[in-house]
Subunit: 125 residues, 2 copies
DNA sequence: CAACTGTGATAGCACACCTATCACAGTTTT
DNA sequence: AAAACTGTGATAGGTGTGCTATCACAGTTG
């Protein structure tokens, strides 16, 4: 299930991309699985076809999916999605850690938060 | 010294805000210190006055600075800036750590990166 | 008085995102 | 074969945001 936050600053097509990548990464979407059609997803999310198309096309450019004219869009066999997700996630993590350092958060605090988040469940405060 | 990256996706006025907050947080700007005038900073950064004004006004709204008509803009006595910076930074850190967990980065990897970034200098790769 | 401060208002431009629409190509279903 | 589905391409227009340009006003400083 894909959910869009229209108020978010991150563009809708990027939200779609991220969530598809996550679905693949968690295994909910398997290699060669068919993605919802552009029209169907656009209809479900109450979006324009072009917006969904853009998300799909960028995913294809990144080799996460492949498309067959008239048939649909499918998850690539190669586990590129996983790599991309991990790479992006680590990139963002490094960025934020550097920023955290610059802004005065102690490394102990970082590790504390890390353990908290990883050992306990979600952050429900 | 404030540096603007025009290619960044984050708006210029936000870049200014962040860097001023950092200057205050690191102590380079002390309470009651005067910020560069809107016109001077705009001139230095080759920006329009309105852009700098917006950054300054938002900082004032957040109680980080106060302005005196005809005199200038000054750092608030109360260390609000520090709080704001830390709060925002920790909030983002938690968000990204949760996301890292969800996307399959191990806690060991997080701690490894943390130590790397905090012990060594910047990320120069 | 001149030159500096902040503030306010207005207008316009550029860009990115999104929508609307029509059209075409290929596949699947009936 | 026809209908209904798939992806794709092109074009146009709306909208919000960020930034600029400009003029004006208010207060402080030298």
């Amino acid at each position: 299930m894909i959910v869009i936050d229209p108020r978010s600053r991150t563009p809708i097509f990027e939200q779609i991309k991220e969530q598809i990548l996550n679905l693949i990464n968690t295994g909910e979407l398997q290699p060669d699985d068919k993605l919802p059609s552009v029209r169907q997803l656009a209809s479900e999310l109450d979006l324009n076809v072009n917006t969904v198309k853009r998300a799909y096309q960028e995913l294809e450019t990144e080799r996460v999916t492949y498309s067959l004219l008239g048939k649909g869009v499918f998850v690539s066999k190669t586990a590129v999605a996983n790599k991309i997700v991990l790479e992006n996630a680590e990139k963002e993590l490094v960025r934020v850690l550097s920023s955290s350092k610059a802004k005065g958060i102690s490394p102990e605090r970082v590790i504390e938060l890390t353990k908290l988040i990883y050992e306990k469940g979600d952050l429900n405060d």
